[in-house]
């Protein structure tokens, strides 16, 4: 057999063996799992908080209210057992590595908005023994409450206090439950999840949408043309405890 004949025969065999039967029996791909169409996607989600815009309304808590209502976060009056996804605190607690002692005076009664930083190298994920908390490909540090055993290693590892433990059944402390989102149970750790359930439906996070002053900018940190990257390129910003090397994805524009 010469080279030409061999190639012809090989090509014909491949077509008959693979192509033709596959073409004739066009089955729908059954029992398949696919990502939702129309979802907002990114390589690394991040948030920039325009602190000065936030201070224009010092008593506004719209973002906190929206988030905590939507995610069935209980309102537990006991500070030792409270649960929070997004909250406010003073400068000296937020940035304990303060540059000088006068900062505390400048920032007296100036609240900073706090939430999970969705770190690039999350220490909570490293210590979780059951992989209940893990890092998604889009940078969100996710919680799989089905797997959480309540060991609280992640709370010890997180340098930002972004995680809350459910010391009691949270349900009695949810005044107006949102039937579209689950609650948590006693004995699991919870935190902000960058509204993964809203991103899946093509919506921005609840806090970003609720902010009247548009002080929260949410977007892809690895997309050069995104609004957040444009803002971070043009304005001075700081991150909490960046010297620890966790790489927070929440930026504070000053």
């Amino acid at each position: 057999m010469d080279r030409r004949k061999f190639l012809k025969l090989a090509g014909l065999s491949v077509t008959l063996a693979g192509g033709v039967p596959g073409f004739l029996n066009r089955e729908v791909k059954a029992r398949a799992y696919t990502p939702p169409p129309g979802a907002l996607t990114a390589r690394r989600w991040g948030m920039a908080i325009d602190v000065k815009k936030c201070w224009e309304e010092p008593n506004c808590n719209e973002c906190i209210k929206a988030c905590h209502h939507l995610h069935n976060v209980p309102d537990i009056p006991d500070k030792k057992r409270e649960v929070k996804w997004i909250w406010k605190d003073e400068f000296e607690h937020v940035f304990p590595d303060k540059p000088n002692e006068f900062n505390n005076i400048i920032f007296t009664h100036k609240p900073f908005l706090l939430l999970c930083n969705h770190c690039e190298h999350p220490p909570c994920v490293r210590v979780c023994p059951t992989q209940a908390t893990f890092k998604r490909e889009d940078g969100i540090v996710m919680m799989d409450y089905h797997r959480c055993i309540g060991c609280r290693f992640c709370m010890a590892a997180c340098p930002f206090g972004a995680r809350s433990f459910n010391w009691v059944d949270p349900r009695p402390y949810i005044k107006d439950p949102n039937p579209k989102f689950p609650t948590r149970m006693k004995g699991v750790v919870e935190k902000c999840l960058f509204c993964y359930e809203r991103l899946e439906k093509g919506k921005m996070p609840a806090c970003v949408e609720a902010c009247k002053k548009k002080a929260l900018i949410f977007g892809d940190l690895e997309d050069e043309h995104s609004e957040i990257v444009q803002v971070l390129k043009s304005r001075f910003s700081i991150r909490r405890k960046s010297e620890l090397g966790t790489g927070p994805s929440v930026f504070y524009l000053l």
Binding site: Y33, P35, R136, E137, G161, M185
Partner: protein, 157 residues
């Protein structure tokens, strides 16, 4: 045989006692559970498949949706569904106590789905109940605020 007047009745009583569950329930049957199915619409898979495999399917669903971000399920006949127990399954099976609970009680299984997921018939949550331990030590079941509550801000741990 020594003491046969005591041993033989003893053996008979013992056998009757041990086989008590068999002859006591003989001929009786417990009515099969009758879960209330939705009047219209279709389920993601066939009735038979769901009856025998819904727990495996739900387990795969939760892993695919939460861990892999795969929210769309294409069923064996090509129909597509949004993966969500609370928002998709319960849209048709809109009564947990008349659907889920009927078989689960019969089979004496207590899946912990509803510790977190909210059943469609629940509109408000109940006040916390005092457990025996709390009662013993006189601890009130409802948590109260501490005196150091501020408008915002508290020390980070």
């Amino acid at each position: 045989m020594y003491n046969s007047d005591k041993v033989i009745p003893g053996i008979i009583i013992f056998v009757l006692f041990v086989t008590f569950p068999i002859w006591w329930n003989h001929g009786k049957s417990v009515a099969a559970p009758e879960p209330e199915l939705p009047k219209k619409g279709r389920c993601v898979e066939s009735k038979e498949y769901m009856r025998s495999h819904h727990m495996q399917l739900l387990n795969v669903w939760r892993n695919e949706a939460i861990r892999q971000g795969m929210r769309i399920y294409t069923s064996s006949d090509g129909a597509r569904f949004w993966i969500s127990l609370q928002n998709e399954c319960m849209k048709c099976h809109n009564n947990k106590s008349k659907f889920c609970d009927r078989c689960h009680q019969f089979a004496a299984v207590e899946p912990y789905c509803w510790n977190c997921h909210i059943p469609p018939e629940t509109k408000k949550f109940k006040a916390p109940k005092a457990s025996r331990l709390l009662k013993l030590f006189g601890v009130p079941p409802v948590l109260h605020g501490s005196s150091q509550a501020e408008s915002y801000g508290h020390a980070e741990h």
